[in-house]
Assembly symmetry: C3
């Protein structure tokens, strides 16, 4: 069995295996018929909403010929009647061949895996992990740029941003050259930076995005999410710190690609969408082949 | 590519093509197995609820062997986080082979089509268009009566009723003889009447439904929808103006059929359901073959 | 046509037929591919939430190769606009090959059957019937113990508990020896007990669960549901009256199995899950083959 809980559980070889499997399945994500998972059922359990992630998994499963059952809105389920997560998981594992779980509590996916007789795929557990987002980010870099010799700027909230911590860790396995761009208050925590360096990453820090535009292959910008801040006042000081505009990308190297996990608010001006640098919609598409790869690997080994 | 935005985009020949395609697909709507759209995915994006329209599309897609993904309730999606419609459309177009969109804002479907690399099917945009409802109304008349030499009464709110404006326009292409039956306050706007006449329709107006019962082939009655009125007081003056009863249909010509887009409130007495005139449940069924035809045409030409 | 409304509509022979059909289909519930209901559509109409029952039906249908359409949350549907149940049923029957209905009003399923041209399967109608729960309970006993010569204790709220009334009736057809264990205030109504005896059941009553542990084959314990009590004060007096613990099951006969319709609150201690007596998760799984049997029988005879 093959639970997918955290990027920390994967070696670089295992990551490469997943990315290559995704590449092999990409034509199916684009519409080629498949019955690889015909007769299989995936259950989606979203204890907090994430329409995009849910739809991406659902698309992946259905393109592979499989079926999806969705627990639906929380407030109407047995969970609302006070059922434990352990019981919910045991019941749903009776219906499905794999379970995608999103939960607001850190560690929920790991705990669910202990009670499930079918694979658990973590689709985000609070401030914890969200490995499928990281894998699709890596896949986007592999497909649209290169994971080898990569120079990347990670921009925005590097303190609370779960997406970015997980991605930085994975990129350190590829010895990436990372420039961390954030307001002083939102710098990446020291403990994480130390860990990245230990893995083999080169780390640089700055508060000025414009200074690095000519020296990077990938610009990865994220939304500064109000809901991650313990104190709303702290949020207001830094909201809107960075914005990718037509003006800014004049300084970009020719091969630069711009990524964003979406949804975006005003981090990227709409005018940038039409430039050759934009890859955030491709990135969102790549969620499908990556999740296909995980679904196939999870259910093949059941 | 084949967006379906407004009845105004179709010539009479194109409408006939859709209706004939629907007729050809009708056995599948009744349960005959099909894999015409096997491997295809339809996304349903309902920015305002319309269970009936959504279920009808979902049924059409699944009867054809295809799959459906649903964005689900708005308030839990990225849209709630402030994402633009353009971004939502671009992301969902990465997952699906066609998108059914319902939106409260007039013009939303046309705008969505500009950003989508897959066909957009408009399932209603506010006070704007709802072409699949009009097409199923035409199909019902074709199957249960006749589009040629048609004498029809359109009854109810002819001022705000979007359904009726769109149907009247389409019927004018068939040179229908239309009797407009409404309270004075809810008469069809002059600009629309002028346009209908220009297209070839014969137009008559009255406030008394009973006077026309013997001279029509189709009685099309609609609900007077409170939510379309700018002023609730105006609504109260006209609510319940017309009601089809057993008494009323005694005056009907033998071949009359009664249509209603459903849901009905008290516009048609339940006793009428058992008469030979009732066709509103058949009409709701015909939504399936008509939407099948549109889905097949949209995805075949992708 | 084959509506499934109430256990009272089935003879013991018909029940045995369903249970044997379920046994035959059980491998499909466990993942064996099937296309028995390929091309068929099941509509789920839940006028009150019951995620577990809905998912179980959905799983059953999809494992059999069929498709599901769901009316979704009530408050957003035509029902909210005031449509009658009769109209909703007539419209949905145009889309689907069978309808699963859950409704808060007793008698709703019977009424729906009058208006539907496709089979109605009752998934619970208020204080009325919930035959598929009873059938899965019987199936669990058949698979994990024995329906013949059965000694069973029914424990908890025997006054308001719909599940238990329906199960007791069905067990009386198998001449079961039943021990009714409840607080005085929640005893089974006399009229039901009389009826059970007339059918051939042996009935005993006690308030003390520990006294019967050595003399039963099946312990069936239910949640005391606050929402079934007309008076909350009455509920508080009896909440938590019975609890199955490791201590208690020391007195159990070797072949005892413990059942619970789930979700559980604190009626069964988590430590009991790991014992050989626990069967409540198997019981929840058995909902799938039983519902498969009903779906196949309903749609084969359409």
């Amino acid at each position: 069995m093959y639970h997918i809980i955290s990027m920390r559980d994967f070696s670089r070889d295992e990551i490469d295996l997943i990315l290559n499997k995704a590449k092999q399945l990409e034509p199916i994500a684009k519409g080629k018929k498949s019955d690889l998972l015909l007769g299989k059922i995936l259950a989606t359990l979203f204890f907090e909403p994430s329409t995009r992630t849910r739809l991406s998994f659902e698309t992946a499963m259905k393109r592979l010929g499989g079926e999806v059952i969705d627990l639906g809105a929380l407030e109407v389920s047995s969970v609302a009647k006070g059922e434990t997560l352990a019981d919910t998981i045991r019941v749903v594992a009776n219906y499905a061949d794999a379970i995608v779980l999103r939960h607001p509590r850190e560690g929920a996916a790991r705990m669910a895996a202990e009670y499930s007789r079918v694979p658990i795929i973590n689709a985000g557990d609070g401030a914890g992990h969200h490995p499928t987002q990281t894998l699709l980010d890596l896949y986007t870099i592999m497909r649209e740029s290169s994971l080898s010799g990569l120079r990347i700027a990670l921009v925005g909230d590097l303190k609370y941003g779960r997406t970015v911590h997980s991605l930085a860790y994975a990129l350190s396995l590829y010895h990436a050259d990372m420039t961390l761009v954030s307001p002083k208050q939102l710098e990446m925590p020291d403990v994480i930076k130390k860990d990245l360096k230990k893995q083999g990453a080169v780390i640089r820090e700055t508060t000025k995005l414009e200074d690095v535009m000519g020296d990077i292959d990938v610009l990865y910008i994220t939304r500064i999410q109000k809901e991650r801040f313990p104190d709303p006042a702290e949020y207001l000081k830094v909201a809107g710190s960075y914005r990718v505009t037509e003006e800014l990308i004049k300084k970009a190297s020719d091969s630069l690609i711009i990524m964003h996990p979406l949804p975006r608010m005003d981090e990227i001006a709409p005018a940038v969408d039409r430039t050759k640098y934009a890859r955030y919609f491709e990135q969102s598409f790549y969620g499908v082949p990556v999740r296909m790869a995980l679904l196939v690997m999870a259910m093949e080994t059941t």
